[in-house]
Structures are given as C-alpha cells and as structure tokens.
Symmetry: C2
Subunit: 696 residues, 2 copies
Amino acid sequence: MKKNQKKVLPGILFLAAATFMLVLASPLTADEGMWTLDNPPVKQWKEKYGFEPTQAWLDHIRLASVRSNDGGSGSFVSPNGLVLTNHHVALGQLQKVSTAEKNYVANGFYAATAAEELPCPDLELNVLISMENVTARINAAVKPGMDAIKANKAKKAVIAAIERKSLKKTGLRSDVVALYQGGEYWLYRYKKYTDVKLVFAPEQQAAFFGGDSDNFTYPRHDLDMALFRAYEKGKPAHVKHYLKWSANGAADGELVFISGNPGSTNRLLTLTQLQFQREFTYPVRLKLMKRMLAVAKKYAMQGMEQARQAAGIIFGIENGLKVSSGELDGMKAPGFMEKKAASEAEFRKMIESNPKWKDAYADAWDQIAQAIEKLKPRQSEFTFRRVPGLRLGRIAQQIVRYVAEIRKPDGQRLQGYHDSQLESLRFRLFSPAPIYLGLEEALLIDGMKQEIEELGADDPFVKILLDGKTPEEAAKALLAGTQLTDPALRRKLVDGGEAAVAKCNDSFIVLARKLDPIMREMIKWQEDNIESIVRPAGEKIGQARFAIYGKNAYPDATFTLRLSYGTVMGYPMNGTIAPYKTTFYGLFDRAASFDNKPPFNLPRRVAAARDKLDLSTPLNFVCSGDIIGGNSGSPVINKAGEVVGLVFDGNIESFVGRFFYDDTANRTVSVHSAAIIEAMKNIYGAEKLVQEILGK
Amino acid sequence: MKKNQKKVLPGILFLAAATFMLVLASPLTADEGMWTLDNPPVKQWKEKYGFEPTQAWLDHIRLASVRSNDGGSGSFVSPNGLVLTNHHVALGQLQKVSTAEKNYVANGFYAATAAEELPCPDLELNVLISMENVTARINAAVKPGMDAIKANKAKKAVIAAIERKSLKKTGLRSDVVALYQGGEYWLYRYKKYTDVKLVFAPEQQAAFFGGDSDNFTYPRHDLDMALFRAYEKGKPAHVKHYLKWSANGAADGELVFISGNPGSTNRLLTLTQLQFQREFTYPVRLKLMKRMLAVAKKYAMQGMEQARQAAGIIFGIENGLKVSSGELDGMKAPGFMEKKAASEAEFRKMIESNPKWKDAYADAWDQIAQAIEKLKPRQSEFTFRRVPGLRLGRIAQQIVRYVAEIRKPDGQRLQGYHDSQLESLRFRLFSPAPIYLGLEEALLIDGMKQEIEELGADDPFVKILLDGKTPEEAAKALLAGTQLTDPALRRKLVDGGEAAVAKCNDSFIVLARKLDPIMREMIKWQEDNIESIVRPAGEKIGQARFAIYGKNAYPDATFTLRLSYGTVMGYPMNGTIAPYKTTFYGLFDRAASFDNKPPFNLPRRVAAARDKLDLSTPLNFVCSGDIIGGNSGSPVINKAGEVVGLVFDGNIESFVGRFFYDDTANRTVSVHSAAIIEAMKNIYGAEKLVQEILGK
C-alpha cells in the first residue's frame, strides 16, 4: 500500500484532514477493521478462529512494531535493531543517500559488515510505548457558553498542553490522537529512533517489478523489502521486543495479523462530504497530479541523472494517481452513493426516533453540509495557493512560521509547531538530503502556470508569487537567489529567530514572508468557519454511534498503530480465481510474457540466479486483512507472533476500502517470508543477514 | 471458444435460431468482423495493415480449413491429411473411443505409427469447396399475393430443391445458407471426410489446465490441441491445400487471420428480441443447465468409471453455463439495453426519414415484437417439452421422423430431413459410440421431475412421457425396454421404413411415436406463427441495412466459414496489462500457486519434463480477432499463410462479443504454435508427428 501521496500534495487533502473520521454504522462482518491496541476484536477472533491472545502477546506485537516518518510501517526482526519494511517505504532514504555515481535505487544496497551500513539523513522511527485515554481532560476544556470558535481553540490548547507536559515528563514523543472523530482522545507516547542506517535493499526493479502497471494489482511478483538498523548511542539498538521468523511462512487458510499504521480512511464521512470529494476534491487532485507527473517525466527524459533524481517523485505521483483514480471510480460506480445515502438515512432515522438522541445529534449532518457550502467558493484558493516545487517553498514557509510560532504560548500555535512537535520538525527541516534544482525549477514553472490558469493572474497570492515576472523568469530568479539547499543556513535561520528571518534576503524566505499573511488568513478562516463547525459535528455523529452501537467498532484510520487480521486466501478474479500466493516461476513468466520489456524486465541478478533459485518458492501472497496506505511495511504475523510476510500493497479491488470494506475481493498483498530468505540467500548473497533474521 | 452448448440443449436456443441474424448497423472500427470468404475486408486490411491478399491466398486458406460436425473448426497441417484442432473439439470423439480400461481423455493418446491411429466413430469433417449466390432464385419462389405462411413454405421448398440438385450433380454436401438474415442466400458445397482417425491428444489436464475456473479467462496455460487424420479410400487423404508451420509463431503486434466457423452471434437482434432473451431465454437456459450439471456431477461422484462417462457432458454444461452467465451479465450490465435502444432508434429514424424506406422496412420491428408476444405464452412448452437424457430420446425421435419425412416430397419435409441432409444425419444416427445407461437414467429421472414442476403433471406431453408412473419408474421402464444402444437396430428401423417403425415395440420408439404428433403441432405452429413473421421481418431489416449502408459489412455468424483478423496484443486487465502471451513458466507458477491442487495440478508427464522444457516457450497468446463459439480449433495464420497458433477460447471480456465487438479487451485466446512443437517434442515424445508438421 503505497503511502506518500499525502506528502506530494499536502494542500489538496485539506478537507479530508479537516473533516474527522467517523466510526462504523453497522455490525461488522468478515475480517474487517483496523483496531486500536486498547480495543482489539478479541470476541471475533475467539468466535471465528478460536484464538485468544494474551496481553503479553498484544504488548509484544505493539513494541516490535515501528512507524516511519516517511509514511510507512515496519517491525523489528532481530534483537540488534534490524527493521524490516518495504523498499518503497525506504525509497525516500535510498534516493537521498544516492548520488549520480552511486545509485542505490537502481542497483540496490547491501552492507555486508556493520561498517558499511549507511546513515539515513532524515529517517525517524517511532515505537508506541504507551496509550492513555485523555478524553475527559480534553472535553473539560470546553466550558458552557463558549461559542464554536472559542471551543475549538480551547480544545487545541489543552491538547498542546497535554503533549508538552508528557514530553517534558517522559522525554517521549507525545501525540494526542483523536479517535472515533473525537469520541475519544488518546495520548500516544513513542520512543524515537533518529539514528537509523540502511542495511539492505534490492534493486528497485526487483522490488517494484511491473512498475506502475502492476502497482496495486495481484497476482504480483515484487520483492518489495528493505532492511534498516536502528542505532542508539552509536551502537545497534538492543531491542527486547522483536519478531521471530516463521519457518514456513504464510499458508493457505491461515489466520494472520497485521500490525501497522493505516493513514486514513473515509468510511463514514457523511453523504455530503463524499459528494464533495467526488465532485471536487478528487477531480482537482487528479488534475494537479497528472500535470506534476507530466513535468517530472519530461524532466526525467533529459538524461540518466535527471531520471535518477525524478525517480522517487514519479513513483510517488504515479502511485497516488492510481489510488485516487481508483477511489474516484469507486465513488462513481453505480449504486455507491445510493448505498451510502440509504445507510445514512437509516442511521438518521434511528436518531430521529429517540427524542434525546435527536436533540443531541440530529443537526450534525446539516451543519457539515452548511460548512461545505461555505467552503466551496474558496476551495480553489485552498487547492492552488501553494509555492510549487518539491521542497524549497515548503522549507522556507516552515522556517518563517517556526520563528513566529515559537514566540507564542504553546496552546495558541499553529498545528505542527507545538513544543512536542518541534524535535521531529527540526529533524526533517535540517535534513542534509539533496535538493535537485533542475527538478525544482521545472515544477516551479509549470506550477505557477497552472496557478495563473486556475486562480487568475490577479489573485493576490499569484501576484506575489510571480512578482511581475513570467513563470520562467520568476522560477529562475527564485532559484538564483536561494541558499536554502544548505541545511546549515536553515539551522542558522531557525536558531536566529524572527530577527534573523526578517533580515534574510534569501529569495525563498523573502517570498515566504510575503505570502505568510495570506496563508494565515486562510488558516484562520478555515479554523473559524469550517473546522470549528465540522469537528464538533463529526464528534456528535461519533457519539451518536457510541450511543446506538456501543464501542464494538474501530475508528477510521489516523496513521497510528492498529491491528488488522484476516485469512490467507485467494479470491474470485477476472472470471476465475486469484491464487493465495505467487511464486518465482510467476516472476520469470511475467518477464518472458512481455519479452522482458520494461517495466517487466527481469533484473540482471535475478536472471543470473535462476538455477540457484527454487522457483516454486512463494513470492507474494494475499490475505483478507483490512489495510490502507500507511500500512506499507507492516509485518504479517501468525498466531505464534512470527513473521510470515511483509505487507506492501492492496489489490485493485481494495481501492474502495477507503469507503467500505468488502472481503469478497479486498485483499492485502504481501511479500512472503520465504521469498525474503530465498532472495537474500540465493540472489543477493546476504547470508549473514539471513542468519541474523533466522536467529542463528 | 467452447462450442457444444447447443448440442447439450438443442431445444432452448430455439428463438435464437428462429430469429435470424442481422447485419451491422454502424461503420466498422478496429479489427471487427467474421467475414465471408466472398467479401473479405480487403479495404480495411490494406488501409490499416498494408496487406492485400491474392485470390489464391484466400482460396488456399479456405481449402485448408475444416469444419467438424462436433461443432468446431480445424485445419490441414500436412499433405497427408493431418488435421489440427482443439482437444475440447476432439473431446467427444476421445470420450467415444475411450473405455473403462483405456481412458484417452484422462491419459491422452499418441499413435506413433499409422497402424495405431484410432478410427473415430462419428466424426465428419467438411471443407468448403465452392460458394454460389442463389439469392435471386430463392426470392423468385415467393409469388405476388402469397400469404406469409405460403411464402415461408415456398422458400423452404426451393432451398431444399437447390440443395438436392447440387448434391446430385456434384456429390458434395450442399447447404443453402441464409446470410445477412436472408439479405443473401448462398449455396455452400463441402467435401466430406467421414473416415477420420485420432492421431494425438494430450491428457485433458494439460489441455484444460485450470478447468472450469480458468475456462474463458486469460492469462491462460492450456495445451488445448489434438490431431486427427482424414482418410480417403482407406489411405491418408492426400490434400493439396494444407497450412505450413511458422518458424517462430505469433509475435507481439503481428497481423493475424483466423479461418473458422463461428456458430452464432446476436449482434443485431432487435431490442425486443434481446429483452426477451434477457428476461426469459437466458434465465430458463441457466436453470436447465444448472440442474443438468448437478445431476451429472452427482453421477460422476459414484465412481471412477461414472466420472469418466460424465466427463464430457460436465465439461459441456460447465462451459455453456459460464458462457450463458457471462452473456446474461453482459445484457444486464448498466447501459447495455440503453445503448441498444439508442442505436435502434437512430436506425429506425433514418428509415422513417425516407418515404420509400419507410414503406418497405419500417414495420419490421413491430412485427417481430408481435411475434414474440405471441410466443410468450407457449415458450415454456417449447423449452421443457423434451425427452430428457443425452442420446436415446433424441435417436428415437429422429428415427420416427426420418421414416415419415422421407416419404414426402423433399421440399415439404422438416428441416434436417431433406435429401441433401440425410447422409450426415445417418452417419451420426448409426454411430457406434457408446451410450451410458446409468447417466441416461439419472438425467431422465431428474429431467422428468423438472418437466412436472415446469409444465405440470397434466401437460399432455408430460402425461405421455410418464405414462402414469413416477419419474423413477418411467425411466427404469424406458431403459429396460430399449435396444437402441445398438446401432444395428437403428439402421434396421431406418431401412425398414414406416412399417418397421410402426410395429417396433422398443420403449423409446414407442414413446417417440406417441409424442410425435404433439411435437409436430408445435413445429407447425412455430413455423406458421413465428418463423413466417420473424424471418421476413428480419429480411426487411437486413435489406434496410443494405440500402442505407451497402455491403460494407459482415453477416452474423452462421457456423459457416469466416475469416476474422486482428493484431496479436495484450490488453488492459485488472488494473494492469495482460501480456500478449503466456509461457510454460506461467503453467508451473499457476500449479505451484495453488499448491498443485485440482484443477491446477500439473499433469505428471508435464512435471516430469520440467528440465527438458524451455520454460520461456510461449504457451498461449491473445489477439484482437473477432470470434465466437464454433471457432474453436481455427488456425491462426500469418500473412504468409502459415500457422502461428490454434484458437481455443475467448477471454472473459469476449462474452459480450455475442452482442457487440469492442477491441479494448475482447480477445481470442490461442495455443501458440511454438508450444505445440515444444510439448510434442519434449513432453510427449511425438517427434515423428513434429517432423510431419514441420514438413521435414
């Protein structure tokens, strides 16, 4: 499940982020759900599978699970801090440690000795150490008589306070998470690892065999894996909780668990919210992405080095495009909205039938609908007012905001700039990862052109951005006048505070300063007019569900740790049956079927290893576990808590999983644990790592 | 493209057969069409592919093509009468020459020497020798002032006369074929081969790997081939026109041709006809088939020998079920009928716009609609009034009719009993192929039960059928009292004429005699009330299309020789791309992916040959050529007239091909010519045959 769509286009997912997630309307069927660790579906497991985990089993899984700030998941697989995740989760770091001379994305990487392990510039790994229900404390912040705007602010302030206090007390990363769209608030504390080294990755062509064509499909033949090692105090982290390796790996019909961090689901947005997404959010997102993709591809055509530089962003956009197109198709499918409308009508009817419920909850839907109507005329601004390009515009904006925000009391700051968030923010902001000016320029120019088209040349934001120049001139001037590629300058500006930033004449900083008032007006308008309405309305709906259905449900995904479960099994596909697994035979078949043409060309090392490989070794497999983007890199675990696979994708039928779960054909696609061992041994000669993983 | 659905259930396709086929409404796009050999789409070939065949090329292809009375196609592939077709086309004969001791279906067959070649009991092969347009002669039979019933009879009489005269004059099988649903009538003359021997067939598990699950799907891994040899005067037929073998076989993007006999298409039935099929014909057909399948499967469960006996019929029904379900789904798909309604409305509007056209053609649609209304109340009788079982009831009915019909002037006989048709009829009627009484009994009993349910115990047909007994008793009595399993008795009855049949007390003959008046009333009613209306109305629509669009079109399929063409190419599938070919690697993968469980178990000999095989050899491939059931066994030919493949199926997306052609995903699935050689050489050791095919 590719995960970096959000990072590519931070602006346009705005509404999805602002309108919180809702809990389930109806009783669960099948292997549904992304369950929080405090409320696993033990009853379902016991009834359907006769499995009852101990608290120690649950704790062990949780403490062996890892979240990556690159938007994916992972797990410890050795006592020496070895972390297993996907190649595509590692892709960002692989790209950042590569150079024109050493292309680890294209050629793979293997550190045969500790000395060869390669430091990652800005990878942060989190382990969820504790969870604490803080709902009551947050709700207590809202005093009788407060209006919506004040109530919203009060809640935000207390959340920041809880996080700050926790950080101070424990030294752990402390995030308050809204679950059941505010039906519950939890304080999650994480141990952080920021000294992380790259240990192993196959060449991208083995990890992502079949490329964008095969992405999100099954049967599949990808060795989408990578290994990092977490360090502490300069030494491999000694971890007590790591997952042992299963001797045989996933078997047909087996019960398995997935421990990871699903990013977001929209399973219970209201009908109006979904309609707005279908009619506006998605089409605009696709428009933006297609245009960015065209620019990145054109850039990549200029030469080998340009292709290398653009590889990550092209992967990310293509991935996002395929997801978003699939999700939009799902929303447009006959019956989709009708089904949604019917289930919402039924729920609302139940609420109307009880005077107490009616009084407490019934107006939530209309409030959300009104907020959306209010948003519509400004939605273009929220979508397109952005400094185009990949990193420089964003870095400058963050620096300008940083120095302003930290002067305020913590509770009044913008989201992202609270005390508890600063360390992670600085870690990324000061990253030494390279910035490719050619690519930035291409995206800047075309992005500005698009903004002129969409917003008009007279839009105040666009006017400042262009500064009276053509997009080409403006981009050239911006890039000529910046030194922000140097992390030391960024650090100097942040450390120098408002004074340093105010007198800085770096072109991007100057631009960010000029644009900041416009952006702040938008944020404030959004908080006061949309968030302060939609958030409590969503909470009402969540509370209504608690009132009617109890807590026998899971919250929508929030990129926090969840446990999914399911059965290893094929499904009806294309008039026949998709098998529960694929094999290395299938990899060789698919390459030969396309006459070895890209993206189906067999990597050289794989072809060379043909006679050493047992071609009947399972390569990928599917299970009915319920996942979504963010789950990439999650371990698939058997009842004994052993690794039987590595989640890397959903099948094409899983796109509608954002909106509802249907186990008929919705499948999680994973690398089989046997494939990892077979490949590392017989293709990559990484025998030593194999021994470490197998605990030998 | 499996072809024996019609044979399993002859009655229920009645309306499709009675309502003739229509020609194309709109200009052709893509690689569409099943073209008659007198009117190949040379213009399209030239424009799109720069290919212009000579008349000699066309004649050669035609004369090397073979039609099988088992409902499939084939081609000569050596000067010594070797005929290449599908395993599933050969299945009927394989079943008939097998015994409990020698199961050639399960184990395959190879005659290493001429002496070992195995005579087929009732296989007739036809080669289309000449085609003659006889439209004017047939239309001249209808005199001014004739009413519909008389006109219908007059036409039938002249058709029979033309066929009889031609047979007498040339000794060739002579069939008048209505093309463009009577817009044209052609006299097709065929050379017949009835002395045919089985030469080679792989085990069914290799030919039909993946079974019913993979049937009509792609990617596919079937070695669906068999070889017969035509004999003349006791010696291998020496044929001048046979297809040479391509050195490399089908390549990606190559232009290819398919020469074969598509059975029937419904591309331009009227909206009312399609609606009738969707609402009645198909659901009833599915009901019948599902029930027969359940009975046959239950019978097969009784033991190895029962399973062997029922294998053919189970294959046939499963195949038909998958087709019919797919076609019904196609008709039920959103937009299908709307699209049909719109195109029909447009066509009728054009007719209305021209007073001459309006006068000549405009009433055809209402006439067809009225005939269907008339049919509806009797449709249950037409569907269910049949002697159940596979062969005995039908044999008895044919004998009873035969002796009565041949006493009439040829022009007045029932269809199937004209002089020109008798030889082929007798060939099948006197076939020594075994009849399995246990299977007949099971189907008889359940069929009678179903007729009671559907028609009521008081239906006159049902009353005669049951003769006051329970279905179990009636079936037992019928089977105890028959000797029709003996071909000699059948011959004796036919040769003895009406007198012999009248005094015969064989239980099935007695039953057929009693039922005959009821059946004849139905046939007459149908001819007078439906056929005599629908046929000329269909002709009007066909003529209207000629008037408006000219003859730049192909007629609907009629199980006569057609040339299709297309490009070897993959297609978008399941979110990715289906490759243009599969390989032996894929066969091993699919077996391993299902842990070698049926129907995905690798045949023993294939598994044993693993290291001898070049696993990258192409196994199956797809092209955009336009085919349908009946095309099974057609050669796929390159521009040089060489065999590059062997048609055996359509993909799941081709089901709607019965109603319209869309080259986006409609694909013909073929065995690659290289797979045939590789397998015969390295799996089956049939080196001698390989040499014959390669012309060495």
